[in-house]
C-alpha cells in the first residue's frame, strides 16, 4: 500500500482525476465520456511526441528538433498528397514516418559519431528543418481545399467508437510500453542514461543507444506530422512552432528525469494528459486562453521540484537500508 502511494504515476493520475473533478464541479458536462474522449483526442499528438522524447531523454540526450521535424514531415506528406492524390493514406503515413526517422537519425548520427552535445545538434537541425520547409514551399501554405478528402478524413474516421487518431496514439503507447519495458533496446536506454560507463562494461554502445532513441523520436515526429496537418487541414512553415517545449514539459511532469535513466511510458502519457486537461479545461471554465502559458510554466516548475525531491529520497533510503543490513 505504501509503495502504491509513493508511485509517481499514481500520484500524477490522482492529480489528473482531482483536476477533472474540480473542473466538473464548475461545469458538470466536462465529466462525460464524449467530453473526456475529446480531451484525449486533442492530446493524442502530444502523447505520441512525448513517447519519443522520453526515449531520448532516458539516454541523457534531448531532442529540440521534434516540432520542426513534425512540421517538415507534415508539409511533405501534404505535398505528396497534392502531387499524387491517388496514393492511399496509409502509404503517405509510412512515407512521413520514414522521412521522420531519417531526419531523426541525422540527429542521432551527429550525437553518436561526432560526439556532439545533443542540445546543440538539435538546436541546429531545428532551424535547418524549419528552413527547409520554406525552401520547399517558398513560404506558401497548403490549404484544406488542396488536400484530398481521404487525407483529411483519415484521423477523424471513427473506428469502434473512437477516431483513428486516438487509436493511433493508443497503439503508439502500447508499442512503446513493450519496447521500453520489455526489450533489450528499451533496457539499454535506461542503462546508458543511468550510468554510461557501466553500460559500456555491460556491452552496450551508449552512442548507438542514443542514435536509436533519436531515430524512434524522429519516426514518431513524422507520424505526428501527418496527423497534425490532416487534423488541422493546413500546412505552413510555422506549424507546431515551439511545441518541442510542450513535449519536454510533458515528459518532465511525467517524472522523466532530465539527467537520464529515470522515466516510464505511463508517466510520459500522464504528463501529456495533464497538460491536455489544463489546455482543454481553460476555455470551459471561462479562463482566457492567455493564461495557459503561465499555468503550464508553473506546473513544469512544481513538477520538477517534486521529481527532484522524490529522486533524492530514493537514494537515501537505499543507503540507510544498506547500512542497516551491514
Amino acid at each position: 500500500m505504501n509503495a502504491l502511494l509513493k508511485c509517481r504515476e499514481l500520484q500524477l493520475l490522482a492529480a489528473i482525476v482531482a483536476l477533472i473533478l474540480m473542473i466538473s464541479l464548475r461545469v458538470p458536462q466536462f465529466l462525460s465520456l464524449p467530453s473526456l474522449g475529446n480531451v484525449y483526442h486533442d492530446t493524442s499528438i502530444l502523447i505520441i511526441l512525448a513517447l519519443g522524447q522520453m526515449g531520448v531523454i532516458l539516454t541523457k540526450c534531448i531532442d529540440l528538433s521534434m516540432a520542426a521535424n513534425l512540421a517538415l514531415c507534415g508539409m511533405v506528406s501534404a505535398m505528396l498528397n497534392i502531387a499524387f492524390p491517388g496514393v492511399p493514406v496509409p502509404l503517405l503515413i509510412l512515407a512521413a514516418v520514414a522521412l521522420g526517422a531519417a531526419l531523426g537519425s541525422i540527429n542521432g548520427l551527429l550525437v553518436w559519431k561526432l560526439a556532439m552535445p545533443p542540445i546543440v545538434v538539435t538546436l541546429g537541425t531545428m532551424t535547418i528543418f524549419r528552413g527547409s520547409i520554406f525552401l520547399l514551399t517558398d513560404g506558401k501554405w497548403v490549404n484544406a481545399h488542396q488536400m484530398s478528402a481521404s487525407f483529411k478524413a483519415f484521423p477523424r474516421d471513427a473506428f469502434l467508437g473512437m477516431p483513428v487518431l486516438s487509436w493511433l496514439s493508443i497503439a503508439a503507447i502500447a508499442i512503446m510500453f513493450v519496447v521500453i519495458g520489455r526489450t533489450a533496446l528499451g533496457r539499454s536506454f535506461f542503462a546508458v542514461g543511468g550510468n554510461a560507463n557501466a553500460a559500456v562494461y555491460a556491452g552496450i554502445n551508449p552512442g548507438r543507444a542514443s542514435f536509436r532513441a533519436f531515430m524512434i523520436s524522429g519516426a514518431l515526429s513524422g507520424l505526428a506530422g501527418y496527423l497534425w496537418v490532416s487534423r488541422y487541414a493546413v500546412a505552413y512553415v510555422d506549424i507546431a512552432l515551439g511545441f518541442e517545449l510542450d513535449v519536454v514539459a510533458a515528459c518532465v511532469i511525467g517524472g522523466v528525469s532530465i539527467a537520464g535513466g529515470i522515466g516510464s511510458v505511463p508517466g510520459a502519457v500522464l504528463g501529456a494528459l495533464f497538460l491536455g486537461v489544463i489546455k482543454n479545461a481553460l476555455p470551459v471554465i471561462n479562463v482566457s486562453p492567455f493564461w495557459q502559458l503561465a499555468i503550464s510554466g508553473t506546473v513544469i516548475i512544481i513538477a520538477v521540484a517534486f521529481n527532484a525531491r522524490a529522486e533524492r529520497k530514493k537514494g537515501r533510503v537505499i543507503l540507510r537500508r544498506a547500512e542497516a543490513a551491514a
Partner: protein
C-alpha cells in the same frame, strides 16, 4: 549539472606555448571566418561597405549579444538559461505598463532592469536554492514569464512611450556609433574584466570544470551560480530596454526565439555547452559574424528563414569540422608510424 556525479575532464598539465595558443585558438578561426564573410559581402553587394549601412547592421546583433555576454558566463559555469527571451518579454511589458501610468524614461529603464533582476533571482533561487536542473527550470520559467506577459497584455500592445525613451534603441553616441553599439562595447569590456581578470571569473571556470572540486576548494558554488543567473536577468532587462525603445511598442510575443539565437551565439563563440571553457572575445566575434551574415543576406534579399538555415548549419559545422579534422589528423599520424 548534478553535483553528485562530476564528469572527469582532461586538463593538460602544461599550457601550450604562446604561438600555438594564438594560431590554434577558436578566436583566430572566428577572425578568419569574419574576414572571409566581410570580403564576400563587400564583393556581393556594393551597398555593404557604407558606414551607415554597417552601423544599421549592428542593430541585428547588439540586443542578442548583450544577453549572450551574461549567458556565456552561465554556460561556462555548467548551467543554461533558456528563459532570457521571456525575461525580455515580461520586462518590456512591465515597462509598457509603467509608461501607461506616466513614468518617464529614467523610471522605465529602472523598471526594465528591476524586472530582469527579479526574474534572474527567481531562476537563481530555483536552481541553487532548490537544486533543480537549470535546463528544465528555465523551460518552465520561459513559459511562466512570457505567460505573465500574455496575461497582462492578451492580444493588445503598449505603444505609448515617453519622448526621451527612444534614445536607448535609436540614438547615436557619436557619428555612426549607436547607443546600443556603445553599450555593447562597454559591457563587453566589463564582462571581459569580470571573466578573465577577477577571481570571480576563475571561480566560474572552476565550477564549470568540476563543481565538486570547486566546492571542496572553498568556492561558494551556489552563491556564484545565483549571481550569474541574477546577472543574466539584469542583462536581459537591459536588452529589453534597448529592444522596446528601438521598436517603440510591446507585444507579448516580443523577442520570440531570441533565447535560441543567444545560445547559438554562445556556442559559435567556442564556449563549451557543457561548461568550463570559452572567452568573451569569442562572444564579440560570434556576435559580429552573426550580424554580418544576417546583414549580408538581407542586402541580397535572402529571406530571414533561409538565413536561419545558414545559422543552423554554421552551428553544427563549427563543432563538427574540428572533430572530423582532428580524427583525420589522428589517422594520418597513425599511418605515418
Amino acid at each position: 549539472m548534478s553535483i553528485a556525479n562530476p564528469t572527469p575532464r582532461n586538463i593538460p598539465d602544461r599550457l601550450k606555448g604562446l604561438p600555438e595558443r594564438v594560431f590554434k585558438s577558436w578566436e583566430t578561426l572566428l577572425v578568419v571566418v569574419m574576414v572571409v564573410i566581410f570580403t564576400i559581402n563587400s564583393f556581393a553587394s556594393p551597398y555593404f561597405l557604407d558606414p551607415w549601412n554597417l552601423s544599421d547592421a549592428t542593430f541585428n546583433f547588439t540586443e542578442k549579444a548583450l544577453v549572450a555576454l551574461a549567458l556565456a558566463l552561465v554556460i561556462i559555469s555548467g548551467e543554461i538559461d533558456l528563459s532570457v527571451a521571456s525575461i525580455i518579454a515580461i520586462s518590456s511589458t512591465m515597462m509598457g505598463m509603467a509608461a501607461s501610468h506616466g513614468a518617464g524614461a529614467p523610471e522605465l529603464v529602472l523598471v526594465g532592469m528591476g524586472t530582469g533582476l527579479v526574474c534572474g533571482a527567481i531562476n537563481g533561487w530555483l536552481v541553487t536554492g532548490l537544486g533543480l536542473p537549470s535546463i528544465v527550470v528555465t523551460i518552465g520559467t520561459m513559459s511562466l514569464f512570457r505567460g505573465l506577459a500574455y496575461i497582462i497584455l492578451g492580444d493588445k500592445a503598449y505603444t505609448e512611450y515617453p519622448d526621451g525613451f527612444s534614445y536607448f534603441g535609436q540614438g547615436y553616441v557619436w557619428w555612426v556609433f549607436s547607443f546600443e553599439l556603445a553599450l555593447f562595447a562597454v559591457m563587453a569590456v566589463l564582462f571581459y574584466i569580470l571573466l578573465h581578470r577577477t577571481s570571480f571569473g576563475r571561480v566560474t571556470y572552476a565550477i564549470g570544470n568540476n563543481p565538486v572540486a570547486a566546492l571542496f576548494s572553498g568556492v561558494k558554488v551556489a552563491r556564484v551560480k545565483f549571481i550569474l543567473f541574477l546577472l543574466t536577468g539584469l542583462m536581459s532587462g537591459i536588452a529589453a530596454v534597448c529592444l522596446t525603445s528601438r521598436l517603440g511598442s510591446t507585444r507579448p510575443s516580443i523577442a520570440t526565439g531570441l533565447e535560441l539565437e543567444a545560445v547559438t551565439m554562445v556556442v559559435l563563440a567556442g564556449i563549451n555547452i557543457n561548461g568550463g571553457s570559452g572567452t568573451i572575445p569569442g562572444i564579440v566575434l560570434a556576435a559580429i559574424i552573426m550580424g554580418l551574415v544576417t546583414f549580408g543576406f538581407g542586402l541580397l534579399n535572402v529571406p530571414g528563414i533561409v538565413m536561419s538555415i545558414f545559422i543552423g548549419l554554421l552551428l553544427i559545422l563549427v563543432i563538427a569540422v574540428p572533430v572530423i579534422a582532428g580524427r583525420i589528423g589522428q589517422r594520418r599520424k597513425a599511418q605515418a608510424h
